[in-house]
Amino acid sequence: MNLLSFRGGIHPPHSKSMTEHLPVEKALEPETVVIPLQQHIGAPCQAIVEVGEKVKVGQKIGEAGGFVSAPVHSSVSGTVKKIEKRMIINGTGTCVVIESDGLNEIHESVVPKGDVETLEPKEILDIINEAGIVGMGGAGFPTRVKLSPPPDKKIDVLIVNGAECEPYLTADHRLMLETPEDVVYGLRAVMKVLGLEKAYIAIENNKMDAVLSVKEAAKEYPGIQVVTVKTKYPQGGEKQLIYACSQREVPSGALPMDAGAVVSNVATMSAISKAIRTGMPLIERICTVTGDGIVEPKNIMIKNGTRISEIVAQAGGYKGDPGKLILGGPMMGFAQFTDNLPSTKTTSGVLVFTEEQARLPEYNPCIRCGKCVDICPSFVQPFAISAYSLNGMFDMAEKYNAMDCIECGSCSFICPSKRPLLHSIRMAKREIISKRRKTK
């Protein structure tokens, strides 16, 4: 088999065996959900419900606040208790707190929207928009925006990302095994929106069972090609996946659409399928709760706005004293200082490390071994950018293409001296961006 891949990258331990064979369980009904009005990149939503108001499952509670935005919906039926600022994943944000009545009454707007065959592309786009669908791989980019390229950008490569290259996470894997037809249905809808006859579903070769199951689901659609990509991190990176599937390089500083490509996650496809077939907006997702700090690792279908502490409790709670709580995977996920946070549309994983695993090693001087240069999938020189950044020489960092860093963390992972390479590159990127803003 000819495995598609990209140049560079690393092979972190998969650590997926804890959960990859466990079917997705339905979470217990949360008594209260805390739904952030911003669950995506872009403008926050405006609340369209009031305190004391009754809401139902699937009811829109936040209207998109701009072009790059996506509405949010209630994941339970019950009463709005509060609309207030709360801690969310990356800081604080306005949240709608809803106390569930346990009845799960479905809102009247949740009705099947039709069929891919009969819907017009514009109608599908509207359904995707109204259902609040965002990229579920991690960044949370509103899907409607991704599927509405400016007229001068011709899209001819569509890739569904089923790589799931982050260690520990198995949510996408289980999704592809258990409901592959949803992935294919959603993909057909997206193909229609973009007017494409051909699309790829890319899956890493450590999930051959998922490859088979998706192939089976897609066998009636010759335009959909299931491709097996090499198990390598960051294989699921947009630019890396585009290169692996089409040998196209996204130009430096540009977006995938500048290379004529759109990449979207398998879970996003599944959400699109649900929105069309049942009318249910994006109110729940599969989340992998795992790590050595969890008693009973699991894949759980969680409702949007469920507290992380409740999710952890359903996986048996913490094993010993937790050292680190990460939302997402170990390579790009965000460490949190509390578990009193609501889950969102992008919570693909809750990863808990023991205290011992949580401690980052002391770092040593750079011995110029060049490993970071060898593995960098953006082909920049992490050691150089880091050195300039740590010396406050951000102009030089910019010259060394700091802005091309995709923040995959491979350099920090591989460094034998355990240097904080990505940390310092991030610092340089921030300085460069703020300087660019000032000079504009």
Partner: protein
Amino acid sequence: MERKLIVTSSPHIRSNEATDKTMRDVVIALIPATLAGMYYFGFQTLIVVLLSVAAAMATEAIIQNMRKQPITVMDYSAALTGLLLALNMPPEIPYWMPVVGSIFAIAIVKQAFGGLGHNFINPALAARVFLIASWPVEMTTWKFPVDAVTEATPLALIKGSGVLPESVSIFNLFIGKVGGCIGEVSALALIIGGIYLVYRGVISPRIPLVYMGTVAVFTLIYSGFNFNFMMFHLLAGGLVLGAIFMATDYVSSPMTAKGQIIYAVGCGLITVMIRLFGGYPEGVSFSILFMNVVTPLIDKYVKSNVFGGVKK
């Protein structure tokens, strides 16, 4: 939850790679060559090795102590410098010389410039050249392994006459039955160590292969396609030791693949120039040191093309 959680930015996991493991691998890779040296030249080579290693480690510890820095002598880097220096010395060297050399390597070349990772040239090589310049007689008195008489090395023989010495066969050069420095005589032992380093992912074969390839191509052309002449230059002297263990030194060699190729070609060219036209019989130490100095320049001008930077 009242427990304290550690919060850092991603990535949250690190590989098992570590500086001291890498250095230890290089030390392990040098064991065959060290044993070959002891086999051919006798027990006193072990004393040279031990003195050199001990002096290097002691110097590092004393200086770090003086500078109130963490003492890192157990990270194998000083030990490696001492070992490399010892392997670059004639077998019958006076015992004080490895000690002086190691002190110079660590104190002047490594610690004076800031310690691990900051030396701009290879400390062991710099110390060797320092010893050659200061005590040329002691550094060029050789012992021949078989009959234990003092004799010129193969490269010195060819330097005088310009023809291949009949007493030296290519096979003996390969296994190490010739005169020379402790660690450089057995190409076989060095190549075994090199394969280990490539297998362990410590070095890429790029620099050694391009370096030796350059020497091969130019000696072949120079001699009018005399294959024996080429093999002789590949196996005699410190080329194999230098190409595998010295030129690949992380700190003083370029970081990018392209840069490493330029560097290795440079090493090869200068080696051939010195051997064929220069005043010294061998040129490996000088060529690597010279290219070490050029490394920052190479790293400055030879950068990898950023992903998506060239093609549209």
